[in-house]
């Protein structure tokens, strides 16, 4: 059997053309895909497999046990409580950072302010975003300490008689941590919202002004609808970040006092590292992943609803 030279030549030109139009693109992408396959996809899949098998204390995978971990989840009160705290923490963090971030962006976007001043203020208010969680924990540790700045400030104003235990009181600890989270996320929200505000065509506002619309009307009818898709994205992002927040809690409270700040990511860590039950720990993670995925789905659904003009 022989291959006809013409067919060979045609195959050659065709594959060359394919390479030019597509193949080279795969080459560009290949290193990243290979890296992510080894260092992201593999650990992820391993976590999923661990949730379905017996796992030794050192993390070696043993016999498959299927989904028998899952019924345990529903009966695990500690897990359900942790989920509740995570939702509470994330909701507080999301609301706080959205409200403050939008306010800040709106205040910075006033056209009568000199651009030098807004540039400076924007630059300064982005700063909290760049610090390490460990450093943020330290900063807030200094403020929230029982003899820290907040308490001596409150005492000076005569508002409290005894120091407020911001992280030592089970009723306040989760809220205090959410406050720290808000401090870290607000700059991100501000930057994004500010960019969106700047991208709204000025003509819309001028047209509204000609029509005699009030400030509030302009805001309700023009600004807010145009911001909506972004606000949704930011809401879901900050929420997912909140659910994943771990190092802040590990460093500041370690889940205490009396498990008051034992959110789900900390509980996973506890099950894994303190009881060394990796199989169950992985099951918890898969569950959290599914919860996050649900939020993402809701988001995809809502984002269609938030763009009525499309």
């Amino acid at each position: 059997m022989s291959i006809h030279p013409v067919a060979l030549a045609r195959w050659y030109t065709r594959s060359r053309r394919w390479f030019r139009s597509q193949g080279m693109g795969y080459l560009f992408v290949a290193p990243t895909v290979a890296f992510l396959l080894i260092f992201t996809a593999y650990p992820l899949l391993r976590a999923v497999v661990m949730s379905l098998s017996e796992v030794s204390k050192k993390g070696e995978i043993g016999r498959l046990i299927g989904v028998s971990n899952w019924p345990l989840l529903a009966a695990d009160d500690r897990f359900l409580l942790a989920i509740g705290r995570s939702l509470q923490f994330s909701a507080l963090g999301m609301l706080g950072s959205l409200i403050l971030g939008v306010m800040l962006a709106q205040l910075l976007n006033q056209r009568w302010l000199p651009s030098r001043l807004t540039g400076l203020l924007r630059g300064l208010s982005v700063l909290p975003w760049m610090f390490a969680t460990a450093v943020a924990a330290l900063m807030w540790g200094l403020l929230l300490h029982r003899d820290g700045l907040f308490n001596s400030g409150l005492a000076q104003l005569g508002l409290v008689e005894r120091p407020v235990m911001f992280v030592g009181n089970p009723d306040l600890a989760l809220g205090s941590l959410a406050g720290v989270f808000v401090w870290r996320v607000t700059p991100f929200v501000m930057v994004m919202v500010l960019a969106a505000l700047k991208s709204i065509p000025q003509e819309l506002y001028e047209a509204a002004a000609v029509d005699g619309a009030s400030r509030w009307q302009v805001y309700r009818q023009i600004t807010l609808p145009l911001l909506m898709p972004l606000l949704l994205t930011l809401a879901i992002l900050s929420f997912v970040w909140g659910v994943g927040q771990f190092d802040l809690i590990r460093i500041i409270t370690g889940g205490g006092p009396m498990s008051a700040t034992e959110v789900v990511s900390y509980y996973i860590y506890r099950v894994g590292f303190l009881t060394l039950d990796w199989s169950y720990g992985s099951t918890l993670s898969v569950a959290v992943f599914l919860v996050n995925l649900c939020f993402a789905m809701v988001y995809l659904y809502l984002s269609r609803w938030a763009r009525p003009w499309e």
Partner: protein, 296 residues
């Protein structure tokens, strides 16, 4: 009613220029005050920590708190110099963050170019999958990473932390590059190729210089991410040989008596270079991140 409204907002004058409307001045003044208060409260923790690094333990938690250190001292910094392990950790942080940055920027630029300029089958799904992977709790990936790094002999090494950090940072870098490259018209590189340049020459000579701001943005994002990483660092290292400075800062909290001023000094030393980079280059980062996030 009508006359009052007409007086308050004379017809024909656009509301945007209503600088002399009664109350307008008040609104402006008020909004400036609120703005300054908000920015101030965002900065308060940072300033307070910077001051704490120069205070002794007595002044630190006195009531009322002295605003400026009454007895400024460099003792916390001397303490750090006397502990070579902290200097070592600082060096580790630089090394790890630099390597992560180089790795992520190189890989992400190539991948971003591929995703932006070619219609790849499965490309969209791939991009989405990289984002979904970020929804998995990081804590639960620690043990698989631990197993993987052990198998590769990378546990408790720089390189181990570099790949672990990069795997979390790379996806967003790809997004940033892709959206940045999407905004650069293809005409220029096509013109270069019509003139006989190969795709790679065009990439190197034409696209790369145009993408420079994107490079700066991605590099800062990667550097900050790696520099600030704590969870992986604390669990995937055992000795000071590879532990970055965040581990050192976090360590202070575990002690029975927290050495607040020493810790503040270390945090200040560790954050100062970043703050300087950030003040000068944040414009790029902000633009790059906005572009990356708006698209996704």
């Amino acid at each position: 009613m009508d006359t009052v409204a007409a007086k308050a907002a004379p017809a024909g004058r656009p509301a945007l220029k209503a600088g002399f409307r009664p109350g307008e001045r008040l609104v402006r003044g008020l909004s400036l005050v609120v703005l300054l208060l908000l920015v101030g409260s965002l900065l308060l923790p940072i300033i307070w920590m910077a001051l704490a690094a120069f205070k002794n333990d007595v002044d630190l938690f006195r009531s009322p708190p002295p605003l400026l250190p009454p007895n400024p001292t460099l003792e916390p910094f001397q303490y750090l110099l006397g502990e070579p392990r902290y200097l070592r950790m600082l060096g580790n942080s630089y090394l790890i963050a630099t390597l992560v940055t180089l790795l992520c920027v190189t890989l992400a630029f190539l991948a971003g170019y591929g995703f932006s300029r070619y219609r790849l089958r499965g490309g969209g799904v791939l991009l989405l999958l990289t984002l979904f992977s970020q929804m998995f709790p990081q804590v639960s990936l620690i043990i698989p990473y631990y197993n993987l790094l052990n198998a590769l002999g990378l546990y408790d090494t720089y390189l181990g932390l570099v790949v672990a950090d990069a795997s979390f940072i790379l996806p967003f870098c790809v997004w940033m590059f892709k959206s940045y490259l999407d905004s650069i018209p293809t005409d220029l590189e096509e013109a270069a190729m019509v003139d006989g340049a190969s795709r790679l020459t065009a990439l190197w000579r034409v696209v790369l210089p145009l993408t420079l701001p994107g490079f700066v943005a991605t590099a800062i994002y990667a550097f900050l991410g790696a520099w600030n990483e704590y969870t992986f660092a604390v669990i995937l290292t055992r000795t000071d040989a590879a532990a970055p400075v965040t581990v050192g800062i976090g360590e202070f909290f575990g002690l029975f008596t927290v050495k607040w001023s020493q810790m503040s000094a270390l945090a200040l030393v560790a954050s100062l270079p970043l703050m300087i980079i950030f003040v000068f280059l944040q414009r790029y980062l902000v633009e790059g991140m906005v572009a990356g996030a708006m698209k996704s």
